[in-house]
Amino acid sequence: MLPVNISADGHLIDLVLKISIGGGIVIGIVSFAIVLYMIFKFRRSKNPFPLQDVPPLLKKVIYIDFAMIIFDLVLLVTSSYAWAYFYIRPIDKIKKEALQKGEKYVEVNVIGRQFFWTFIYPGEDGKFGTSDDFKLANVLVVPKNYYVFLKMTSGDTLHSLFIPNVRMKYDTIPGRTTYVWFKPTAEGQYDIACAELCGSMHYSMKGIMIVMEEEKYKEWIKNPIYNSEDIISMYEFKR
């Protein structure tokens, strides 16, 4: 039921999701089987007097504790690696590495407010604070196969930018700056949600991320259209 992953690095998160849930399912099924076996085998009608000792085979159940420790360690190693990859490396270093690898990136500033997202673009020159900056409400347009760096803050209360398809989520906090970055690899439109209770209309604080081919994006940013439906019809998107 996971939404399609369109982030170049999203498989790292998906791997941790699979390990953490898969390991839990295995240990859970084994535990349930043992408990059900015991209550069936040691029911009063079949076993009218309790045994004086636990059957030696069942004593081996304590190995579940060791299985748990191994599971924990595997989970911690993969999870910590993925976390370090996304959030411990400084943003500047990630940008520099991307450039060294010949990759390209875009930067967009994000402000969360009750109950809409504002996406601020540097415009064609790629620099914030110049006259060609422009803002979009609830629409985030990004080029395919570019790194996308979102520099986020909030204008009132806490919000949390959540884009399930790129497996990214981070709170926006008034008075602070937080980051989300990812590299979308598939064209299309994807939902953006707010994941931190921000007031009465929290559930309706939604945005759309539109991922375009590089050429279309370059065309769009020269002459930006602000409305998501117009963008979609103009650039002939398939859902």
């Binding site: 953490s20 408990v35 015991m38 040691f42 209360t157 399930p164 990214m168 989520k169 008075g175």
Partner: protein, 567 residues
């Protein structure tokens, strides 16, 4: 055993008010807590019913009502249901009986504790009817939303009364906690060493200590929050040029809030230990492992709080540290559960209602524990944080604690508390139906979480990718209605059984070993009359020779010479 002699010896003429309302008798106070907790559970359940109907059928409530009901439901189930039932209720009734004392160490403080709690419940309910409406900023009360009436209606008087109610509740539980710890430390009967204490007593003491040590930072935080709301200070509020820190509240809240989960978990595990040993007729698999593992878990519980804040703006390296402690806390808990599970091995299991509830609670704890790992592992929490996966996980832990384990305890100790029985057949059906409907609402939430459904959403129909899962919400709502209907029948049967259930004259109907089963049912004021219990062995002497001697009580009653119980 002479049960009838003991009860009649010290008649004291007391008014109805002194005996049943402003009573200092630990059993009466315990029952007051238990019944208040059950009444608040009805209230919290009805709130859940309303917002679940809204999720199946958006528009049933207003947006503010929806958020307020979700907020109150969470707070009520934690602080006005789980705590009063598991600590105030079972703790008060059972601690003196299980350690052979005649009452708590501070009976008057105990009475004040209950009435402070009662006042807190009244204030909480009043908070729904103040200008601006009930507080709707979530039970975690995150600022700046909770601190700024400009961004949240109800962040003024609703929030003030909500915080005031919490303050009284904490004051009440502090009085109770001090009382529990002091009573167990100083009033154990002769022969009852620490390592002979019933597991339930250990768990109540550990829970009380965790509560006492964790609550102070939250009280400091709540005071700052009240100043922010009412005097416009900027501890947590952020406005141009006046930068408070909203994250600070999250640290103060969760430094208390996470240990708080274990405050209610430990007594629930204690109930399971008593129930499993009694009905499986086996001693606990490893007493020491169980006690030490839970002490380790209690200490670790102070080091995991920021796992609620992984993507909330905390230092990303410290997030890694909190992830490690969080994942590792699964080790002592898995040890506890293995010990509980192996207590069934080789037993002769009696499938009473109490056992069924205990068994179901045990199985659901396994699910609840294992689904904590994807949330504790920091990378998977990026995706799952604040989604329905969290909702599912904490219903598999907290519902299991507050409802399944409490019901196991209610069915187990009901004859002792009230001298009557709850109908057996009813109890079994109650357990089975509760399990089925509970899973019907809680399990589908895992799938919503996988689909990326954020929690605290008024409707799933707004966001495109969630629309196709509306049927899951409908299924969950139907299950909730059925679950609540089952509990309504139970509550009727419960009160009927208190007054008109089948009389239970045998003091020890389940053939259990711990001291409370030596007292008459219900125990008289001061519990033991002209007798005193004497403890001679450990608490779980079952399966003695595999045939005729099935169990040996932990102690026996000795007649007092020349003294009276009144002393």
């Amino acid at each position: 055993m002479g049960g009838s002699n003991m009860s009649g010896e010290h008649h004291r003429e007391e008014s109805f008010i002194k005996r049943y309302i402003f009573s200092t008798d630990h059993k009466v106070i315990g029952k007051q807590y238990l019944i208040t907790g059950i009444v608040m559970a009805i209230f919290g359940g009805v709130l859940a019913l309303f917002f679940r109907i809204n999720l199946a059928n958006p528009g049933f409530l207003s947006h503010e009502q929806y958020n307020a009901f979700v907020t109150l439901h969470g707070a009520i189930m934690f602080f006005w249901v789980a705590m009063p039932i598991l600590l105030g209720g079972f703790g008060n009734v059972l601690i003196p009986l299980m350690i052979g004392a005649r009452d708590m160490a501070f009976p008057t403080l105990n009475m004040m504790s209950y009435w402070t709690f009662f006042l807190s419940a009244v204030i909480l309910i009043l908070s729904m009817f103040v200008p601006g409406g009930a507080f709707s900023g979530g039970w975690t009360v995150y600022p700046p939303l909770s601190a700024n009436p400009e961004v949240l209606i109800g962040a003024k008087w609703g929030a003030n009364l909500f915080l005031l109610a919490l303050a009284f509740e904490f004051a009440s539980m502090l009085m109770g906690g001090v009382n529990f710890v002091t009573t167990v430390l100083t009033m154990r009967v002769r022969g009852l060493t620490f390592m002979r204490l019933p597991i339930f007593i250990w768990m109540e003491v550990i829970a009380s200590l965790v509560f006492l040590f964790s609550v102070a930072p939250l009280i400091a935080g709540a005071l700052m929050l009240l100043l922010d709301i009412n005097l416009g200070t900027h501890f947590f509020r952020v406005e141009a040029g006046k930068a408070g820190d909203p994250i600070l509240w999250q640290h103060l809240f969760w430094f208390f809030g996470h240990p708080e989960v274990y405050v209610i978990l430990f007594p629930a595990l204690g109930i399971l230990a008593e129930v499993f040993t009694t009905y499986a007729r086996r001693p606990i698999f490893s007493y020491k492992t169980f006690v030490y593992a839970n002490i380790v878990a209690a200490i670790l519980s102070f080091l995991v709080w920021a796992h609620h804040q992984f993507v909330a703006g905390i230092n990303t390296i410290s997030a890694l540290g909190f992830s490690i402690t969080t994942v590792l806390i699964s080790v002592p808990f898995s040890m506890s559960l293995v010990v509980l599970g192996l207590t069934l091995a080789g037993g002769s299991i009696r499938f009473t209602p109490a056992f069924l509830f205990g068994l179901f609670a045990f199985l659901m704890f396994i699910i609840g524990g294992l689904t904590g790992l994807p949330l504790g592992a920091v990378a998977s929490d990026i995706y799952f944080h604040d989604t329905y996966f969290v909702v599912a996980h904490f219903h598999y832990t907290v519902f299991t604690i507050a409802v399944l384990s409490s019901l196991a305890g209610i069915y187990h100790w009901f004859p002792k508390m009230f001298g009557r029985r709850i109908n057996y057949t009813f109890g079994k059906w109650h357990a089975i139906l509760t399990l089925v409907f509970y899973n019907g609402f809680a399990f589908p939430a895992f799938f919503l979480g996988l689909a990326g459904h954020p929690r605290r959403y008024y409707s799933a129909l707004e966001l495109g990718y969630l629309q196709k899962y509306q049927w899951i919400h409908e299924l969950m709502t139907i299950s909730t209605v059925l679950l609540l209907a089952t509990q309504v029948v139970f509550i009727f049967v419960f009160f009927y059984s208190i007054f008109a259930g089948e009389k239970e004259t045998e003091p020890n109907p389940w053939e259990s070993t711990t001291l409370e089963w030596l007292a008459p049912s219900p125990p008289p004021h001061l519990n033991w009359g002209n007798f005193a219990p004497l403890v001679e062995r450990g608490p779980y002497e079952y399966a003695k020779n595999g045939k005729d001697i099935d169990f040996i009580p932990q102690g026996r009653l000795v007649k007092l010479k020349g003294e009276t119980a009144e002393k």
